[in-house]
């Protein structure tokens, strides 16, 4: 059990990307009742845009913010053009889910056609690595962890103390009442999609630097991010972040002590057991409420 500390530290670092994606998923879900399966592909698309910008001579730090902006704009466009026209109703969740799955597939095909399907080297925002408790962790991963924690803090502050964030919560609580009070619910939805997809871009930017960039890179992390969302609670933003980190740690421990080959199986078995005992996840609530 001597490796447990290093496994936990490494797991937290690995889980940062899942946490960022999970937070994005929950922000969008709580604001527009949409489970956005295209969120990872939106982040990948933005990262490809950043890669093109870097190739054109744009500094990597500027490309990072460009990726966030591109993902945010694509997210707003998706919400305005594909989700909002569906209106409100019980059928929305399922229809929107299918639409986002389709959107993700279209994005993957488009990225493959435009940038190619072969993996592309992607530079890290922060190059190098350090030894922590005997395990090598890239500075890129540490930066991703810091960003995930900052994002969680920012979101908590924004929705807890900022007038617009509070308005967003009110709008989510009762959209009709919010509109009667003069709140622009459309703008609130756009901001939520911008934030959610922007967080996905941060996650994919760091993941691409860890391995390489290809149109299908979001598949596995998105799978784990959803696991984190359900573990932490679909309606809880802190829960999503904690769930994402927990998946990273669980994954590491299962891979090391049981079998590297059955990491996914073990992680998801644990999640099924947790959800059996607590269906809403650790921090979620059964009653669904928006932002």
């Amino acid at each position: 059990m001597g490796d447990i500390i290093s496994l936990i530290i490494s797991g937290i670092a690995n889980g940062s990307a899942y946490a960022l994606l999970a937070l994005g998923i929950v922000i969008i879900f709580r604001s527009t009742d949409t489970v956005n399966f295209a969120i990872g592909d939106t982040g990948t698309l933005a990262t490809f845009a950043a890669l093109s910008a870097i190739a054109a001579g744009v500094p990597i730090a500027a490309a990072f913010f460009l990726a966030i902006a591109v993902a945010g704009v694509v997210g707003i466009a998706a919400e305005r053009l594909l989700i909002r026209p569906l209106g409100h109703g019980q059928h929305l969740l399922f229809v929107a889910l299918v639409i986002t799955i389709g959107l993700g597939l279209v994005m993957q095909a488009g990225m493959g056609a435009f940038w190619g399907n072969t993996p592309k080297p992607f530079p890290p925002l922060v190059p190098g690595w350090i030894q922590v408790a005997g395990v090598a962790i890239s500075l890129n991963k540490i930066a991703a962890t810091v960003f995930a924690l900052i994002a969680m803090g920012f979101v908590a502050w924004f929705f807890g103390y900022m007038p617009f964030g509070i308005a967003m919560r009110a709008s989510a609580e009762d959209p009709l009442a919010a509109r009667m009070l003069g709140l622009n619910t459309g703008r609130i939805a756009s901001i939520a999609w911008f934030l959610g997809c922007g967080l996905a871009a941060i996650a994919m930017f760091f993941l691409a630097a860890e391995s390489s960039l290809n149109p299908h890179i979001a598949h596995s992390p998105l799978f784990r991010a959803f696991a984190g969302v359900f573990l932490g609670g679909l309606t809880s933003m802190p829960g999503a972040v904690i769930g994402g980190f927990a998946i990273g740690v669980l994954d590491n421990i299962a891979g090391h002590y049981i079998s590297a080959n059955y990491r996914d199986t073990i992680v998801f078995t644990v999640i099924v057991v947790v959800l059996f005992v607590r269906p809403a996840g650790f921090l979620g609530s059964i009653r669904k409420e928006r932002v």
Binding site: S6, S10, P119, A136, S212, H216, P221, H256, R263
Partner: protein, 396 residues
């Protein structure tokens, strides 16, 4: 009236004979063949996890066929190579085989890509439709036992590569070898052949196997596991991206363990993706270097620059170029009328053909594998360089 009737009969006979001369020998055994073209087909993974091999492979094959076509084709026939993306998916490959054979009417399947994927198409393409499957990129021992008429392979089988790598590691003095492989049957089958190679030269050496889920992107816990096992050499039978990630994890962790891999790893993509982390990696190559001064390598680089300008010279496209060259050689020697049988006959008559890219290849009915030599390579200063003598897997 009688002479008119006789003249008409003669004219009709002449017309029929001219018409027959311009038709293929028969619709059944010469599909895809016309006097000025020959249609062949293939499936290549242009998307998905092995697109890193599939994209340059297509570029190399297509470049050679474009070169040949610009020179007037083979025996006056332009080569039309129809390529479909199988996305590394066996089910999709079977659907593509049906389309190529029954709809596109191809003469043969040339340089199809993927071991499990191509094998999935055997029952339909080879057993049922009797369509030759020539020079596939991939392969396994059980493909050729028992022999399948029409199936001709070009390069050294992965199992033989694995045994040769095991022998190479033992020759380098390694006594504790860890074989890491992608957890599916095809990779496992290859991985199992490392141990006989090691033991052949070093009876007291130990060989351990470690499966890793295909698609793994986080190698942190796996690297810790490896370090606990304390191997002095690692043989990786995995997808390229994962070999790169593993190498990265090992170097970051400060592990000084020699890593070996198999032929698909020898390519510029390994260096582009792995950079300093793959320095020292060893693997055998199926061809000579595409960057050499050999005339065949020069012809390849010029053709690639002209016909696939977006593709950098590399081992995989070079391999495709060489395979296309060997196919074109057989096509040029096939007896007229060109049929599937005459094409296979030309392959079976090929004795020591030197493409300048692969070692000389020889085929015969009882010898469906043309190649048996491997060139050991190593990444040094960011380049693949030849190290040591050529390995003959038949001498093993």
């Amino acid at each position: 009236m009688a002479s008119f009737g006789k003249a008409a009969s003669l004219a009709l006979a002449a017309a029929l004979s001219i018409g027959l001369a311009t038709l293929p020998a028969s619709a059944e055994d010469a599909p895809g063949v016309t006097p000025d073209s020959v249609k062949i087909g293939s499936w290549v993974a242009l998307s998905g996890p092995v697109a890193v091999y599939g994209v340059p492979l297509r570029a190399g094959v297509q470049s050679y066929f474009d070169l040949v076509n610009d020179r007037g084709g083979i025996n006056g026939r332009k080569i039309e190579w129809i390529v479909e993306d199988n996305a590394y998916n066996p089910q999709q490959t079977v659907a593509i085989a049906r389309k190529l054979i029954s709809s596109d009417n191809v003469l043969a399947l040339v340089v199809p890509h993927g071991t499990g994927q191509s094998a999935a198409a055997f029952p339909y393409a080879i057993d049922q439709q009797k369509v030759p499957m020539l020079l596939p990129y991939g392969g396994a021992k059980d493909w050729y036992d028992p022999l399948k008429p029409g199936l001709l392979g070009l390069h050294v089988l992965y199992e033989d590569q694995a045994a040769a790598i095991g022998r190479w590691a033992a020759q380098d003095g390694h006594k504790k070898v860890l074989v890491i492989y992608g957890a599916n049957a095809a990779f496992e089958n290859v991985a199992n052949h490392v141990e006989p190679g090691v033991k052949a030269l070093s009876q007291d050496a130990s060989v351990e196997l470690l499966p890793v889920k295909i698609g793994t992107t986080d190698y942190g816990p796996i690297v810790l596991d490896i370090m606990n096992r304390k191997p002095d050499a690692i043989v990786c039978i995995q997808l390229l991206q994962e070999i790169v990630l593993l190498s990265k994890g090992l170097k970051q962790q400060g592990a000084d363990i020699q890593v070996y891999s198999y032929a698909p790893t020898v390519g510029q993509a390994t260096i582009d993706l792995g950079g300093e982390f793959v320095e020292g990696l060893k693997a055998p190559s199926l061809t000579n270097s595409p960057f050499s001064d050999h005339p065949a390598a020069q012809e390849y680089r010029e053709a690639l620059a002209k016909y696939a300008p977006g593709e950098k010279p590399d081992f995989v496209s070079y391999l495709g170029f060489g395979a296309a060259k060997i196919f074109a050689e057989a096509l040029s020697k096939a007896q007229e009328p060109l049929t599937r049988e005459s094409l296979l006959g030309a392959f079976h008559a090929m004795q020591g053909y030197d493409s300048g890219i692969f070692p000389p290849v020889t085929f015969a009915q009882e010898r469906p594998l043309g190649g048996h030599l491997l060139q050991p390579m190593q990444v040094k200063d960011g380049k693949w360089v030849e190290v040591g003598d050529v390995i003959d897997v038949n001498q093993f």
